[in-house]
Symmetry: C2
Amino acid sequence: MEYSEAKQRYIEAWGSLGSSWGVNRTMAQIHALLMIATMPLSTEDIMDELKISRGNANMNLRALLDWGLAKKVLIPGERKEFFSTDKDPMVLAAQVAKERKKRELDPIIRLLDEVSTVQGDDEQVKEFRKVTTDLKGFAKQADSVINTFIQSNSNWFFKILGKITR
Amino acid sequence: MEYSEAKQRYIEAWGSLGSSWGVNRTMAQIHALLMIATMPLSTEDIMDELKISRGNANMNLRALLDWGLAKKVLIPGERKEFFSTDKDPMVLAAQVAKERKKRELDPIIRLLDEVSTVQGDDEQVKEFRKVTTDLKGFAKQADSVINTFIQSNSNWFFKILGKITR
DNA sequence: TTTAATTTTCAATAATGTTTGAAAGTTATG
DNA sequence: CATAACTTTCAAACATTATTGAAAATTAAA
């Protein structure tokens, strides 16, 4: 396969994967580009490669910085800003986990905490309390797993899982 | 808190959580409703509760069946179809993991398998090969973890993780 | 300080995704 | 078989989200 074809297919795939992971398509594509870049890229490099507008490139680069998935790189003698990303998949995964936990899991746990205290003793309310309490328990387990995962900045997580699942 | 308020907030939250999990809002809300129902619900029950059209209710119930997140229940003497869901969060999570793996992880692994074979020995191509190969390795690890998780239909997964993360 | 390079913002537009409602299709019952 | 109960489909309307491009703001160099 030609490099240019491979590259294109990879960027496209990463983009559509991103959109099912709470990261919008363009954002994921920019990230894909940074992953395979041999050196930091400027906004213009990205506009050219992905054929997107300046505004779009800028907004999504901001978002990537915000998610902790890209960082600014200052190149001596250059006026422009350049961007790069950490290329270790584990670091990437931990970063995504961290952000999504903050945006999604934490709020739902807070909500379940509240609503599971609803008072009453008829069938419906009892069931509601049971279900929301169960969900809360589950969410909290998930939370602690994710916390551990985030804190470990090496591969130990998968190393252990590897042993379990072998 | 009043039951009706708690219920409403829970359904809303579940809906917005769903949308960041690759499940559309209404689909997630229907699922939320089934979770707290004391008995199977008909399409009309759902239309009434969520104030949605028949078509919408029908489409999203289909989708839930498709994802394995709801099942038809036949009630003797009733002409209508009724629906219910498994209320164990672990079963639910395993089901979601299974579907998403099929829809997302499997295709990306296939793609990475292909593109990481790109030939050439200049800097760019070497880097591309390295990154895509690393990603593939990571994706395969994730795949095997998910497979184990899916197959275990009890709590052993979190029990073990509990020990690790304590 | 002035100028030129660069980044940011945002209203308008385009693209995508969701919902409706009514008509067509299906199935069970008398 | 005819009818009524129920389910499915789908084009059009609506809603949401993403993108553009040009003007405004910022920053660095002369």
